[in-house]
Chain length 144, copies 2
DNA sequence: TTGCGTCATGTAATAACGTAACACAGATCG
DNA sequence: CGATCTGTGTTACGTTATTACATGACGCAA
């Protein structure tokens, strides 16, 4: 059962290395996607010097289902929910606001099923799916 | 009515500039996505020198619905069908083979509707959608 | 004709994103 | 002990994309 300290921040995960933990905390603390170089800049004071240190950590975090890469932005975000990779809840989709840069993660099982269905029919061995919507979010539209 | 010269190649489009036409022909002649620099290399003999010349042409071609950018590859392909942007046939999706690099473009109206539906409910003004599947195509699987 | 706006072009320089290659330290296991 | 595995740190480099500026061709109005 999940313990009840689900307050957006997370305690250090025992299975993360120092660099991975630093990068994950940085993503958690950001309110918009960060590029690898953004992350690096924010972690200079913690001793990180080279892009590769960040890219390696990101690679692990994504494998572990704790972060996502946004392909259309060349940037990274932490997962909205823990374990959003592992669930059968469907492929994660992202709505990215062109104005404010905020990203909203959601899933639509039907969409995942349709795409998986297409792959099945075609004999395409599906490994991963990217779904990204670009547009202007509610907040920015009404604020305009 | 469409004239009947639909033989994969296209005649020069009257509304394209020289650079745009060169880039489109290059994409048409390729059997896999090309990066902007790949395109540039293939067009050196035609006088192109700088990346920007290619990026500018690509930008127009994409606006005009004649080419697509594959975000997860940082590469470009020509459209499978003329006018695949303009139709209500739904958002284009791409299946990209990790082995051979081939790309298959398809649309699933249901998927487009579900995503547009989400956007509607959220008040998100949808401008464009990226759907990219990564995996191994039928041909490469059986050849393995 | 001249002057003006617009659009495509050409060029150089640089920014932003990502990786290869190598060396080292600590853990684990025979 | 040595072998191996994983993470780390560092340099250098490769790839992708943009900024800034200058030029040339065209339509159009004064």
């Amino acid at each position: 059962m999940a313990h009840s300290h689900d307050h957006h921040h997370h305690e250090a995960r025992p299975d993360l290395t120092r660099n991975q933990d630093l990068v994950l905390r940085t993503l958690n603390g950001a309110d918009a996607p960060l590029s690898a170089y953004d992350i690096l800049d924010r972690l200079r004071d913690d001793g990180l010097r080279a892009p590769l240190q960040v890219y390696r950590a990101l690679e692990r975090l994504i494998e572990a289902g704790l972060a996502h890469r946004l392909e259309s932005l060349n940037a990274f975000v932490c997962c909205a929910d823990a374990g959003c990779h592992e669930k059968a809840s469907g492929t994660a989709a992202f709505a990215i606001c062109s104005k404010c840069g905020r990203v909203d993660e959601f899933t639509d099982p039907e969409v995942g099923e349709r795409l998986a269905g297409w792959a099945g029919v075609q004999g395409f061995a599906l490994e991963r799916t990217t779904i990204e919507l670009r547009g202007v979010c509610q907040g920015c539209r009404t604020a305009a």
